[in-house]
Every structure is written in structure tokens, then in C-alpha cells.
């Protein structure tokens, strides 16, 4: 029984919808060209898209390359800049100016097993971990780019992602998917979701009694979750007891001068109500304050944000975004999979929204079932993989709050209560009281956050393992060699790399070469 999957209908024309369409159409290029597979994206003419954060992970480079979008075109069209990681200020203590740490994107070779972090713990250099074994923090502090104009597209001296204008990105993706990748586009409101007796979606009813039939449906309808939530009634699971934040006040600010340097990292500054992001694009900075409506009201937060920006709040045009932190109980049911906000959303602390879309779209495209009889098995696998990933994202975000020593509000004190910590995170923290995070702490092949990311946060926030021994001569030798090498690399990069704005100006003018 069943039939071949030949028509995939994506509902929603935001970043999630177009990225999914792009991944599917690029992965199955030949089938689409032969008319053996149709990718149809249906979007409402009336629904504005929600910009899910302006920061990407380094994964975006391979995503763009897969879709066949040139880096030069992407950077120019989307006003993109280079992001090399995040800088966290004020997360440890109340005073936000006194302490900061980085979560850089660069890999520290040989650190995955936790040995180099252990060396830091054993030699009283725990908080120096990120600079001892990596150049990227120093490069970010010097406001330098991760590459030179002579690097080919998507190549760099250091690992990097982007800051970008997501609205412009949506337009670029939409054009590229239609003109190059053969994605079909329908602009219409979905009036009804039609299902068969087993609960699978058969078609969408559009205006004028038109029906859009499909074999597989992708719900990219944003928070509304029109297909998976509304039609298939997959319940929403709140994560607000772990991650309290449910509101963001956002605004744009100008640079002091048109040639002001652009920071090459996302700033995340903690306040008594939550934290403030600061993301530099070429022409403006995107700034926002994330907080919990249960602990602070909009007026308080607006004042805090205006104070941070050193302006009068009356002069700022705030936009308020509310969200329910959480996810669907299942992300794939029957012949419907949710990608993007429709699957779930938690606060943007580690810019995990776009990367979850990329991972989901990639998994869907690579594991695309050919026949409907495969659906239950693929759905089971997909759900297991992505529910695991959601849990790891929640653990990792919560870690930033759990280790903070801030006590200037009930918000921060409640964040540390054992009852507000996921059990999985409690277990990890118990392990890490006596050992540094290592890759074997995480079983999946494609973990969202690697052991190194945990090492950066733990060392940054001063959660030092008690290893109860002296470093072995072998470890000392290996670590000192790595430190000397890193020092040399750091000096070279500081000398060679251009300023972030300088490089972006050159890319706008000359472009990057494909080789």
C-alpha cells in the first residue's frame, strides 16, 4: 500500500520555508529537473515573517555552498558581516563591565578530550583557556575579520558564521530557489488542511476552491504551527520552567560614524532582567533585550535598554516580540514535519534558531523518504534526533544561567534553583565538578554543541573542576607546545587580518574569488 513521494508542499515563506525548499531542491536537483519531484512553497500574502535572529553559525557557510549561493552575493545582498562567536559580559557577577568571556567558533585542536582544559584547571589558568589555546578571542577583541580578501569564498583563516539582515536573506533565498533550483511558488492563504482517515494530510484548501495536493508537507508557518499544531494537534510543550525568557524588545541603532569598526562577535550583556544582544551589520547595529514577562515589565526593560545605549528611551523605536519558549511534543507526525518556529523556539542566546532550521532541512533532504510506507520509520528517527537536539540546546542555554553568581534580582536567583535545572544538565554539572567536559560526554555524531563549547562556558564562568592530581609530564609538554604554537598563530593573525569593516568594504567592491 501507499505511494511514491513526488510532491513536497512547504507552507510558509520565511527563512525556514525557503531554506527547507532550497535544501530539498539542491539535494534532489536531478529529480526536480526531470519533473520526478516537485517542491512547492505556499506562502500567505498577508503574514509578515518574524526575523529569527540575525546571527548564524559557521554551518551557514556550507548551507549557502550547498544551495549554490555565492558568498559575495550573500554578503552584499543581505548586508552580512562576519561573526566569530559570542562575547558574554556581566554573566558571572552583577556588574556587567567587570567580567567577560568568549564562546568563539574556532576549533581548538586536541581540546575535544578535555585534556587541555584540564591542564588549565591544574595550573590555575582555568579562565585563560579560550585565549591559551585559540586565537579567535584576540582577533575579535582587535575587531579583525576572520579572513583576507585573498581567501576564496567560504574559506578563512578562522572559523566563522555571519550576522545578517534576515529579511533580505528571505528575499535572496526566494529568488534563488525559484530561478535556479526550480522551486514552485504559490501565494495564497491556506483555508483548510484536508486529512485522510489515518490523519495524514492530503491537500490544502486554497481560495477559490483550489486544492494543493501533496505527499509530504513541511510546516514552516512560524509560531502558529498551522499544520503540525492546529491540524494534527501535536501538543506544545513549554520549557518556560527552565528558560524563563519569553519577550524581547528590539531596536536598531546607528554607528557613531559611517566608518566605525564593526565587531566580529555577537555581544550578550547580562542585566538584572535578562540580557542584551548587540549585533553589528555594515549600516546599523541590531540591539535587543531578552527578558521574562513574569519578572519584569516592558517599561523597566525599555529603561534598562535605553540606559545601556546611552540614549533617551523616547528616541528609540522599540518593537516587542513575545514568544512561548518550548517545542512540539513531536516534530514529525504522519506526513508532516515542522521546521523553524513551528517546531519550537527558545531564546536566541546562542543563535540556535537558524542552525536548527539548517540541521532539520539537511536531515529532511538527505533522508527524504521515497515512498509513504517509509514515513513512520523516518518520522521516528527524525523525532528522536531532533528532540534530543532540543534538549541539548536547552541544557546549553540554561548552563549560562545556572553557573551565574548574579543575585541582583529574583530572576537570576530563581535561575539557579535546582528545580529549574533539567535533570540532564544537573547530571553533567555533577560530572564536571571533577572533570572537564569531553566529547565522550555527548553520544551523538552530529551534536549541536561540542564539548569545546561547554569548556568555554565553564571556564568563562569559573566552574572549575577539582581534578585532585598533578598534571602529567606528558600533558604539560603537549599543552605548553600548543600554547606556544597558538601564541605564534595569534601574533601572525593579528598582523595579517584586516579590520572587519575594511574587508566587508572590499568584498562589496571587488568580491571574493570562488577559488
Amino acid at each position: 500500500m501507499g505511494h511514491t513521494i513526488a510532491v513536497i508542499v512547504i507552507v510558509g515563506g520565511g527563512t525556514a520555508g525557503w531554506l527547507t525548499a532550497g535544501y530539498l531542491a539542491a539535494e534532489h536537483r536531478e529529480r526536480v529537473a526531470q519533473g520526478d519531484l516537485r517542491i512547492v512553497l505556499c506562502e500567505s500574502p498577508n503574514i509578515p515573517t518574524v526575523g529569527v535572529g540575525e546571527g548564524t553559525w559557521p554551518t551557514m557557510r556550507s548551507t549557502l555552498a550547498r544551495l549554490g549561493i555565492s558568498e559575495t552575493q550573500f554578503m552584499v545582498r543581505c548586508n552580512a558581516t562576519f561573526k566569530q562567536g559570542s562575547k558574554f559580559s556581566g554573566w558571572r557577577h552583577n556588574n556587567s563591565s567587570e567580567h567577560c568571556y568568549y564562546h568563539p567558533f574556532a576549533f581548538a585542536p586536541g581540546a575535544e578530550d578535555g585534556s587541555l582544559a584540564s591542564y588549565c584547571a591544574l595550573t590555575n589558568q582555568w579562565q585563560g583557556f579560550s585565549t591559551l589555546f585559540g586565537a579567535q578571542q584576540s582577533v575579535c577583541e582587535a575587531q579583525l575579520a576572520p579572513k583576507n580578501i585573498t581567501h576564496a569564498e567560504f574559506d578563512g583563516a578562522l572559523n566563522y558564521g555571519y550576522h545578517l539582515d534576515v529579511t533580505a536573506f528571505g528575499v535572496l533565498l526566494s529568488e534563488h530557489c525559484q530561478s535556479v533550483l526550480g522551486v514552485e511558488h504559490i501565494v495564497a492563504d491556506v483555508q483548510e488542511v484536508l486529512q485522510d482517515e489515518c490523519g495524514a494530510i492530503t491537500a490544502l484548501r486554497l481560495p477559490d476552491n483550489q486544492e494543493l495536493k501533496g505527499d509530504l508537507f513541511v510546516d514552516c508557518t512560524g509560531f502558529k504551527s498551522l499544520l503540525l499544531g492546529d491540524a494534527l494537534r501535536v501538543p506544545f510543550r513549554s520549557e518556560a520552567h527552565y528558560l524563563f525568557n519569553d519577550t524581547a524588545l528590539t531596536t536598531h541603532v546607528n554607528y557613531p560614524a559611517p566608518d566605525s569598526e564593526i565587531d566580529s562577535c555577537t555581544h550578550a550583556r547580562a542585566t538584572c532582567h535578562g540580557w542584551i544582544w548587540d549585533i553589528g551589520l555594515p549600516h546599523r547595529r541590531g540591539v535587543g533585550h531578552v527578558f521574562s514577562s513574569g519578572y519584569a515589565d516592558v517599561e523597566q526593560v525599555a529603561t534598562t535598554l535605553a540606559n545601556h545605549l546611552g540614549t533617551d528611551e523616547a528616541g528609540l523605536d522599540f518593537r516587542k516580540i513575545s514568544f512561548a519558549p518550548g517545542r512540539r511534543d513531536r516534530i514529525w507526525q504522519a506526513n508532516c514535519v515542522a521546521i523553524g518556529l513551528s517546531a519550537g523556539f527558545v531564546e536566541p542566546l546562542e543563535a540556535s534558531a537558524l542552525v536548527m532550521i539548517e540541521l532539520s532541512a539537511m536531515a529532511l533532504a538527505e533522508g527524504l523518504p521515497r515512498h509513504t510506507s517509509q514515513l513512520p520509520i523516518i518520522a521516528k528517527r527524525f523525532n528522536a534526533a531532533f528532540l534530543y537536539r532540543w534538549d541539548r540546546v536547552i541544557d546549553f542555554l540554561k548552563l549560562h544561567y545556572a553557573l551565574s553568581e548574579r543575585d541582583d534580582s529574583q530572576y537570576w536567583r530563581d535561575h539557579r534553583k535546582t528545580t529549574s535545572l533539567p535533570e540532564s544538565l544537573q547530571e553533567l554539572l555533577t560530572l564536571w565538578r571533577y572533570q572537564a567536559p569531553r566529547s565522550s560526554d555527548f553520544p551523538m555524531a552530529r551534536e549541536v554543541f561540542q564539548s569545546l563549547s561547554y569548556q568555554y562556558v565553564l571556564s568563562g564562568l569559573g566552574y572549575k573542576p577539582d581534578l585532585g592530581r598533578e598534571p602529567t609530564p606528558d600533558l604539560i609538554e603537549r599543552a605548553q607546545h600548543a600554547i606556544a604554537h597558538n601564541q605564534q598563530v595569534t601574533n601572525q593573525l593579528i598582523h595579517q587580518l584586516p579590520g572587519n569593516r575594511e574587508l566587508i568594504n572590499k568584498i562589496h567592491r571587488y568580491g571574493l574569488s570562488t577559488i
Binding site: 580578501i149 585573498t150 567592491r509 574569488s513 577559488i515
Partner: protein
């Protein structure tokens, strides 16, 4: 030591002379120089020609290799230049072109490093005549810079056409020489001969008509000089 450059001025530099052919001077110590398309025909007889990226713009440029190791020019030995013809870039030294607007030749001015050892008040050729007009030597320098600037654009367009045809590829020069670090020969690009021979006939005819194919063959033929550089390099090492 690096000195600030000065724009050449017929009053300020009226008595300046320039010493010729002193190849041991520091300004000639380079392991590669920029080359323009019009020079290929001559230079391929003596120099290996490759493609590299302009460090300021990332655009492809033609480059002649003069050495294999950071800053060492193997063409200079015992104060002599071991080739019959010279890259324009070398002949332009110790002068430099100062272009405040990099794409506007009209704004260009010739500049000199006042600390250069090739400058003298009494030795060599004068730059200006008694009435302040340019000497024959300075006129030659003007012509060289003019050829370099005009050729730069022509060469960039030539290389862009090759790139669009997929003919440019990164190359690694593998030489087994003692004490040779790879750094000096990183970042080079060359012609992909397989792609060249597989070019569709229309593209090939087009390349032939506009002269690109000839230039490509000149470049390919020049790679034989790498062996000469390797030999010179080993001789120099054994002299040390």
C-alpha cells in the same frame, strides 16, 4: 629600515640622480614581482609566470617568480642580473606609483623613498634637466608606470576571462630541496591543462581570436624555469 615616500617634485628633487643597475640594492630583493600581459612574450624566456591574488583586492594578477624563499631574488648573483630581459616592475624601482584613488590613473604621481641608497646628488643619471623638465631617465620611468597601470587592467580582464572558463586552479609547486619552506610558493594559481584541452570549440576559437590562448601557452611554457630556480637555490645554499 622603511622611510616615508615623497612625491617627486622638480624643485625639491632638482638635483637628484639615480644609480642604475646596482642589483644588490635592497629594493630588488623580492621573490616575486607583478607582471602585465604585454610583458609575457618577453618574460617567458627567462621567468616562470604564475597567477596570484592581489593582497589588497583579492583580484588575480600575473606574477613572475624570482625566488623560492621569502624575499630572496635568485636572479641577482654577485651584483649581476642573470637574465636578458627585466620585468617592468623591477625597472620601475626604486620609484613607486602613488595613487590616492586606486582606479584613477590621472591622480597617480611618482614617488621616491628619500632613504634609498640608489639616490645620489652626483652619481648616476639626473632626474631633471636644468630647466626643471623631466630627464630622459624620468621619461622612461613615466612610460614604465604608464605601461604597468594600463596593463594591469588588461591583465585583470584576461585573468577574469580565464577564471570564468574554469581554467585557473590553485597550484602547489613540489620541489624536494633541502631547507626549503613552502611559504614562498603558497598562494599561487596556474592553468588547468585538462580543462584547457577540454574547452568547447566555440570557447577555444574565441580564446584564440582575442589572444588569450597565445598568452596561456606562453604562461604554460614558462614553468620550465622553475627547475632553473631550484638549481640556483641549491647552489646558493651550498655557497653559504
Amino acid at each position: 629600515m622603511r622611510h616615508a615616500t615623497e612625491i617627486l617634485d622638480s624643485k625639491k628633487h632638482q638635483h637628484l640622480h639615480i644609480i642604475n643597475n646596482r642589483w644588490s640594492d635592497a629594493c630588488y630583493q623580492a621573490d616575486n614581482v607583478n607582471v602585465v600581459m604585454s610583458e609575457l612574450q618577453n618574460l617567458v624566456h627567462d621567468y616562470p609566470i604564475f597567477i596570484a591574488k592581489n593582497p589588497n583586492t583579492g583580484q588575480f594578477q600575473l606574477r613572475a617568480l624570482l625566488g623560492l624563499k621569502g624575499g630572496v631574488n635568485l636572479y641577482v648573483k654577485d651584483g649581476q642580473w642573470r637574465a636578458h630581459c627585466f620585468p617592468l616592475d623591477i625597472l620601475s624601482r626604486p620609484f613607486r606609483l602613488f595613487m590616492p584613488e586606486s582606479d584613477n590613473m590621472e591622480t597617480g604621481a611618482i614617488a621616491i623613498d628619500p632613504g634609498s641608497a640608489l639616490i645620489s646628488e652626483n652619481e648616476g643619471e639626473p632626474l631633471f634637466q636644468a630647466d626643471g623638465s623631466a630627464s630622459a631617465r624620468l621619461q622612461r620611468i613615466n612610460q614604465i608606470f604608464s605601461a604597468l597601470v594600463n596593463g594591469q587592467q588588461q591583465s585583470a580582464e584576461f585573468l577574469q576571462r580565464l577564471h570564468q572558463l574554469g581554467l585557473i586552479e590553485p597550484v602547489s609547486i613540489n620541489l624536494t630541496l633541502k631547507n626549503l619552506p613552502n611559504a614562498a610558493i603558497d598562494g599561487l594559481y596556474g592553468i588547468n591543462e585538462d580543462k584547457l584541452s577540454a574547452l568547447p570549440s566555440e570557447a577555444l576559437i574565441e580564446c584564440h581570436k582575442n589572444g588569450d590562448l597565445y598568452a596561456v601557452h606562453l604562461m604554460l611554457s614558462s614553468s620550465v624555469h622553475i627547475e632553473k630556480l631550484a638549481r640556483w637555490y641549491e647552489e646558493q645554499e651550498s655557497d653559504l
